[in-house]
């Protein structure tokens, strides 16, 4: 039997050796999130884990840009946007991108038993050595030479030498490639050997490190040469995962990067950390827009729903070739998830509609007021009818509970219905319908994309599960279209898996689960109200920003039972993308930190996928959630019907 590969499960495209696959499946829409001023000031990229910061940086490394620039046929969709940004010009690179991960050894430099200042100097020295090595390697790659064998072909030439640049040059062993490479390699090895030493080490603090990031100054003042000829590219230094640094390291680094005298492009990325101070710098003289550009990827993407389209685009690209190869047809992955709404009723349409019809007719007594609404509803068929009856049930309930009642109630017309309802009400009605009659709900390309929760890795994993089902259909020589019932079941399993893995994956995992369960219970209670006051439903909670400040203060939170546990649970939940947070959300003249569940957890608790619905809670209430036994499991009913084979 032929065996098929699942393109979503394969991590090979993330490997440097399979750069083509990475580029082929990279959605160019992500580039729209970048600002125009990319090259002459510090660009700070911030996002939740998995939102694509590293992939975005990887696109601008020299190897990626070479492929995009030279292979127009294979990468024509990337070539345009990358050119527009200025990274390439036709087939020529404009920038020499190097990517360095700050999640390596740097933090451990703080544990040498030397002063903080000395640790910082070591940090700069190590980072300098790595930046210069990376630039040398990238330049040789551009010229198709071998690193480190051809290091001697490379050199730097300072445009206007000064005593200051001479001093900087001497720190790097000279300007020719071989000396540079030797000096940087030696410096890096020396520091790492001491870092790795199991026997006690002695440091002479005076011999330590660099007071600044000299590599950036040198690269700003020098041309890059190969065989004595100037390379027509400028360096682009990309430093990734800055959140892994110690706070003092992060501050010191940003101070270096923000310097407007630097004439090289530099990008810096870090995770969104809603429970710590993430000021770029505390000095007021540093202004966003002038001295640096801050790009919060989710905010930009969420602003016009681009992120979901981007995710679908990535999924289609990944699946395109395998689907074509296995089925002989050209079909988009997301199209294979589409379905007619009537399929949601799964053959039980009549009983569902009849049950709702009867219930609504009964509760609508006396009927005169709602006659028009009911007459119109009776004319509908299929899922549209079922949804509309459920929607009417909500609207009629709201109408009956309204406080001001007229003496002689008039018949409500369709115009009033349109004013009183919304897409949010219909979404809430759809979910209630699904729960009550055990119908699938979490299905369809758009909902699957929402379940990605702005996390590309999570989305691809879910797509992998769905593609696995498609492969089963292909094996049975059927069209790989998955029914909504099957999609809903697969999503449910992925949701359960995410929930179950929390204690294993996330530090303070059980506290995180306790928080999530309490939040979900609260949300379920709100969503069960017959008037559905927070349509499409509550999926989050909120804390006053002033109370957030209390939570950040170790002394203040000690005074509140459960607050310490809450702080750690929230910190880890954010770091591991179990929850997402939006700061400074204004509601009725008050500012809140809004906390949303990872969308993929919503199916486990039977919650809707839309963002917007949340109920604010006090810090004390949230802290109490973390005390004692967890609340009773807030779990929705599972679909128990057997699937047809």
């Amino acid at each position: 039997m032929r065996s098929y590969q699942n393109p979503f499960h394969s991590k090979a495209s993330e490997q440097q050796r399979d750069l083509r696959t990475f580029l082929r499946t990279y959605g160019p829409g992500a580039l729209n999130l970048l600002p125009e001023t990319l090259w002459d000031r510090l660009v700070v990229l911030r996002s939740a884990p998995g939102a694509g910061k590293t992939s975005l940086m990887r696109l601008f490394t020299v190897k990626s840009l070479i492929l995009v620039a030279e292979d127009l046929e294979d990468f024509k969709e990337l070539h345009g946007p990358v050119s527009e940004l200025g990274a390439i010009n036709g087939q020529k690179l404009q920038f020499l991108g190097v990517h360095l991960n700050l999640g390596r050894d740097y933090r451990a430099l703080m544990d040498f038993g030397i002063s903080e200042q000395a640790s910082c100097r070591l940090f700069f020295r190590l980072l300098d050595a790595r930046i210069m090595t990376a630039v040398l390697r990238a330049a040789l790659c551009l010229a198709n030479r071998v690193f480190p064998d051809n290091a001697g072909d490379f050199s730097l030439r300072v445009r206007n030498p000064t005593p200051s640049t001479d001093q900087i040059t001497s720190r790097f062993g000279g300007l020719d490639g071989r000396s540079l490479q030797a000096a940087c390699s030696t410096a890096e090895k020396r520091i790492l050997e001491k870092l790795d030493s199991l026997l006690p080490v002695q440091w002479d603090e005076h011999e330590l490190g660099h007071a600044e990031l000299y590599s950036l100054h040198l690269l700003s003042e020098a041309d890059l040469l190969l065989d004595g000829q100037v390379l027509p590219v400028k360096p682009l230094v990309m430093l990734d995962d800055g959140h892994a640094l110690a706070p003092t390291q992060r501050q010191s680094l940003l101070k270096q990067l923000i310097n407007r005298e630097l004439a090289i492009a530099r990008w810096y990325s870090e995770r969104n950390e809603a429970l710590s101070s993430q000021e770029i710098l505390s000095e007021e003289s540093q202004r966003e827009g002038r001295d640096y550009e801050l790009v919060v990827l989710e905010n930009k993407a969420r602003a016009d729903s681009r992120f979901e389209k981007l995710l679908i685009d990535i999924a289609n690209r990944r699946a395109f070739l395998p689907l074509a190869r296995y089925t002989g047809q050209h079909e988009d992955f997301d199209r294979l998830l589409d379905f007619d709404d009537d399929e949601l009723l799964g053959g039980h349409g009549t009983e569902v509609i009849d049950a709702l019809h009867e219930r609504v007719e009964t509760m609508a007594q006396p009927i005169d007021r709602y006659r028009t609404w009911l007459d119109d509803a009776r004319r509908l068929q299929g899922y549209e009818a079922a949804l509309h009856w459920r929607e009417l049930e909500v609207l009629i309930t709201r109408d009956k509970q309204r406080q001001q009642r007229e003496l002689f109630e008039q018949t409500l017309e369709n115009e009033e219905l349109r004013q009183r309802t919304s897409a949010a009400v219909r979404e809430a009605a759809a979910l209630a319908l699904a729960h009550e009659f055990h119908l699938p709900h979490y299905a369809g390309g758009s909902r699957i994309a929402k379940l990605g929760s702005h996390n590309i890795e999570q989305f691809l994993s879910l797509c992998g599960d769905l593609f696995g089902e498609m492969l089963a259909e292909i094996t049975l020589q059927r069209r790989p279209k998955i029914s909504p019932l099957r999609q809903d079941r697969i999503v449910g399993q992925a949701s359960s898996r995410l929930w179950r893995e929390i204690p294993r994956r996330v530090p303070h995992g059980r506290a995180v689960q306790q928080f999530i369960q309490a939040l979900a219970s609260m949300a379920q209670k709100e969503n069960a109200k017959p008037t559905m006051p927070y349509a499409p439903g509550v999926t989050g909670t909120a804390l006053l920003m002033t109370e957030r400040s209390t939570l950040l203060d170790p002394e203040k939170r000690e005074a509140i039972p459960g607050a310490e546990r809450l702080f750690h649970a929230l910190s880890e939940a954010i770091a591991h993308n179990i929850i997402s947070v939006e700061l400074d959300q204004r509601v009725k003249n008050r500012s809140y930190m809004v906390i949303y569940l990872n969308r993929l957890l919503c199916p486990y608790f039977g919650l809707p996928l839309g963002r917007g619905g949340y109920r604010e809670k006090s810090l004390r209430t949230m802290a109490q959630w973390l005390l004692g036994s967890p609340p009773s499991r807030a779990r929705s009913d599972e679909v128990t019907e057997e699937l047809p084979l």
């Binding site: 790595r130 030493s197 530090p507 059980r510 546990r565």
Partner: protein, 372 residues
């Protein structure tokens, strides 16, 4: 090519009579103290070895040195109900330890868990503290009990002892003892997975920016480690994977079960080649050590014309097998990476007394007279 532990000395307890005491007695110094090192852990196996050691007839002056462990002893400790079980068990162990030492007439000594910015630094700092504080002065025999010591601590500790010995600054019999109990392993749940990275002291050039070698990753597989394996894979981005399975094993199908558990992860996600599996005896770390040394030779020498490679190890199996990883890494200067657990908890409703009946000690003699 000779290997340090080509011939080795190891004793398992058998079920009828103790075996490790024979090794301890054989290692007793003519002059010098016997130092017993252990962790202040919550694990019910923490004091099994020490109890047996203290019951031995006293033939040499003895010292017991305990090592404080997070989160029970550190500035990072969090009063967290989730740690309730493990915290209480650790406290109970320490009370029991105090009684044991009092009865034996031994004054307790300890190295507290250090305050660190990077948790992975703790093992290295504890190892350095062991030497700096003079705990090894006049010691003729060191017994390191790793039963309650996490990998991030016992790797640097044992590595430091071997290195100190190699630097000729220390001449003692170095033995490692571990209390194994697979049933207990099944009821101890790992909580939270830390970031991936090299174990300090075993970086061995992995993170050099100038590195050009291809990465060959050899994870020693154990049950329930998919999260850590995935994290390490993303960190290393290896060019080749050679997973290690335990065979022979007490349960003959154990290797099959692990292959099934990780089938999707290894073959679909990581594109591991089925022909790359390595097998090592479940209870003989020296067998694993040999297999890994051969692996390094195979890639380093036999396949040299294809380009430089770096074999990187990780251990996800028993403490006993992890010692095989340690020995190979120490001898061949191979990097060892980990995505350590951030905490532990006990599965509720477990009859610990019933399970602990299956405890079994193993002692490895790593340095000293047998190797001279």
């Amino acid at each position: 090519m000779s290997m340090c532990w080509n011939d080795y000395v190891m004793v398992h307890d058998d079920l009828t009579s103790g075996g490790v005491e024979s090794l301890w007695k054989a290692g007793l110094p003519d002059n010098g103290t016997v130092l017993y090192l252990l962790g202040e852990g919550f694990d019910p196996r923490t004091l099994v070895g020490l109890t047996r050691f203290l019951d031995m007839v006293e033939q040499a002056p003895r010292k017991v040195l305990t090592i404080g462990l997070a989160p029970h002893d550190s500035d990072n400790r969090v009063p967290d109900a989730a740690h309730g079980d493990s915290f209480r068990l650790a406290q109970a162990n320490m009370e029991q330890l105090a009684k044991l030492l009092e009865n034996a007439g031994i004054s307790p000594e300890r190295i507290p868990y250090p305050t660190v910015t990077e948790p992975k630094s703790s093992g290295r700092l504890i190892a350095q503290q062991l030497i700096k504080d003079g705990h090894l002065d006049k010691v003729g025999q060191v017994i390191v009990d790793v039963s309650a010591l996490p990998t991030g601590i016992h790797f640097p500790l044992i590595g430091a002892l071997l290195e100190y010995q190699r630097a000729s600054r220390f001449h003692a019999e170095i033995q490692v003892v571990v209390c194994e109990n697979p049933q207990l392993d099944d009821v101890i749940l790992n909580e939270g997975t830390g970031p991936s990275g090299p174990i300090h002291g075993f970086r061995n050039g992995l993170d050099l920016e100038s590195r050009t070698a291809n990465i060959v990753w050899a994870p020693v597989l154990g049950k329930g480690e998919s999260i850590a394996l995935r994290s390490l894979y993303n960190y290393l981005k290896p060019d080749e994977i050679c997973p290690v399975l335990p065979f022979p094993a007490a349960r003959p199908r154990r290797a099959d079960d692990l292959g099934l558990e990780y089938r999707d992860l290894l073959f679909e996600e990581m594109a591991a080649e089925p022909g790359n599996f390595i097998y090592a005896h479940e209870t003989n770390p020296f067998d694993l050590y040999r297999a890994l040394v051969h692996l390094d030779r195979h890639y380093g020498e036999d396949l040299k014309p294809l380009g430089p490679t770096k074999v990187v190890l990780s251990t996800h199996s028993s403490k006993l097998l992890s010692l095989g990883v340690l020995l190979a890494a120490y001898e061949k200067e191979l990097p060892v990476v980990s995505a350590a657990s951030m905490g532990y908890a006990l599965n509720g409703g477990v009859d610990l007394d019933a399970i602990t009946k299956h405890n079994r000690l193993t002692c490895l003699w790593l340095a000293g007279s047998p190797y001279q």
